[in-house]
């Protein structure tokens, strides 16, 4: 069964203890909203959950595939958007999911535009499209609302809600307000 659990996790960055004793367990359909001021360790928490950073203490249990939306877009700038996403969808064995994912984030019209021509908000939505296309049950979103306009934030909220309704888990770190009904609040 899909599960994301953090037990007594502590994070040490550059010799500074950012947080410790963090417990969080998410079951299918559940979400957690990590909030707090800049530099408090929101992104580090996401990276720890993604397995990219090892915690200074505690342990992480993950059951199910992970889709990560981090600050870096990880899309080859010279490729058309559809192809750049296709590379990742191909790795996930879901190349066919790209058109639907692009439509879900409202970028279907610019699938043939090279990634380097996209605006900041479009790039963020493209990164979101990769998460949607991956079909992974665990979403780790780091500042997903950065650079998004009001309509796009609503779209993001809708996508997360749909993902949870389908039994997915979402861990969202943000300093901007995102409406996640019944989400666990993690204030760092």
């Amino acid at each position: 069964m899909t599960r994301l659990a953090l037990e007594g996790v502590a994070c040490l960055r550059g010799g500074r203890l950012l947080f410790e004793g963090l417990d969080l367990a998410l079951a299918p359909g559940e979400a957690a909203l990590v909030s707090g001021p800049n530099g408090v360790g929101k992104s580090s928490l996401i990276r720890i959950a993604a397995g990219l950073l090892s915690p200074a203490a505690g342990k992480i249990e993950v059951e199910g595939e992970i889709a990560l939306m981090a600050e870096a877009p990880a899309l080859d700038p010279e490729l058309p958007l559809g192809n750049a996403l296709g590379f990742w969808a191909g790795l996930d064995g879901r190349r066919g999911a790209v058109p639907d994912a692009l439509a879900a984030v409202g970028l279907a019209d610019i699938a043939r535009v090279p990634v380097r021509m996209l605006s900041t908000g479009q790039r963020r939505r493209a990164a979101l499209a990769r998460v949607v296309a991956s079909g992974a049950p665990i979403w780790l979103l780091d500042e997903p609302a950065n650079g998004l306009d009001v309509a796009s934030v609503a779209l993001l909220e809708g996508l997360i809600a749909g993902h949870r309704a389908a039994g997915g888990i979402a861990l969202v770190a943000t300093h901007l307000p995102i409406a996640l009904p019944d989400a666990r609040e993690v204030a760092l």
């Binding site: 595939e65 992970i66 990560l68 981090a70 600050e71 870096a72 877009p73 080859d76 590379f87």
Partner: protein
């Protein structure tokens, strides 16, 4: 397996599209052209130093693309996304080695034929030289990727890459340039194999360290 094939293909595609392929080959030919100008038109002398010149030129040419092998992928988050998908960093590095080698070695071999003509290398010496390059360039590619991972994100990465990479390439140079000597090719193969087997782990460890 198909994931690694996709990474190899992406490396190749990027090498082609950024012009990262033509640059090292042109550079290689330029170095080979400079030598006859520098040491004069003495055909015998040129033929004698040709293998050494070509190997030194190949080494310098292999050093050129090092800055674009790993650092852009660290910056753009590509390596993180691959890691999240459960691909080991060393495996990704091995795929990068394969892609890098496919990107520059075949073109380098063709350029070597041209360079050997410029350097008056006799025809019967060309085949061992090409064979040596074929055996040695995978080691060179592996060394390039490991170096790229080690210096990724550092200031002055380009200059530092030379300092890191060239000393380790000396064994390849020694056994590669003396390919017609008995046993040299086998030793070259051993060195190259060692680099190909070891460098992905070095590169993977460097990428992991870079995340912290």
């Amino acid at each position: 397996m198909s994931a690694y094939a996709a990474i190899v293909w992406r490396e190749l595609r990027r090498a082609w599209s950024i012009g990262g392929l033509a640059l090292p080959v042109v550079f290689f030919l330029l170095v080979a052209i400079l030598f006859p100008f520098a040491v004069g038109p003495d055909a015998k002398l040129l033929a004698r130093i040709a293998p050494g010149v070509i190997w030194a030129a190949a080494l310098l040419a292999a050093l050129l693309p090092v800055e674009r092998l790993v650092a852009p992928d660290v910056e753009s988050g590509v390596l993180d996304q691959l890691a999240v998908r459960g691909l080991p960093d060393a495996g990704v590095a091995a795929a990068k080695v394969a892609g890098h080698w496919l990107g520059f070695a075949p073109a380098l071999l063709v350029a070597t034929v041209i360079a050997s003509g410029l350097l008056q290398l006799p025809g019967e010496a060309l085949v061992p030289l090409l064979l040596a390059l074929l055996i040695g360039t995978p080691g060179l590619a592996a060394l390039g990727v490991a170096t790229a991972a080690l210096v990724a994100g550092l200031r002055g990465a380009g200059a530092l890459a030379g300092l890191v990479m060239l000393p380790f390439a000396v064994p390849l140079l020694i056994f590669g340039a003396t390919a017609e000597q008995p046993g040299a090719l086998k030793l070259l193969g051993a060195v190259s194999l060692l680099l190909v087997a070891g460098c992905p782990f070095v590169a993977g460890a460097a990428v992991r360290m870079g995340r912290n």
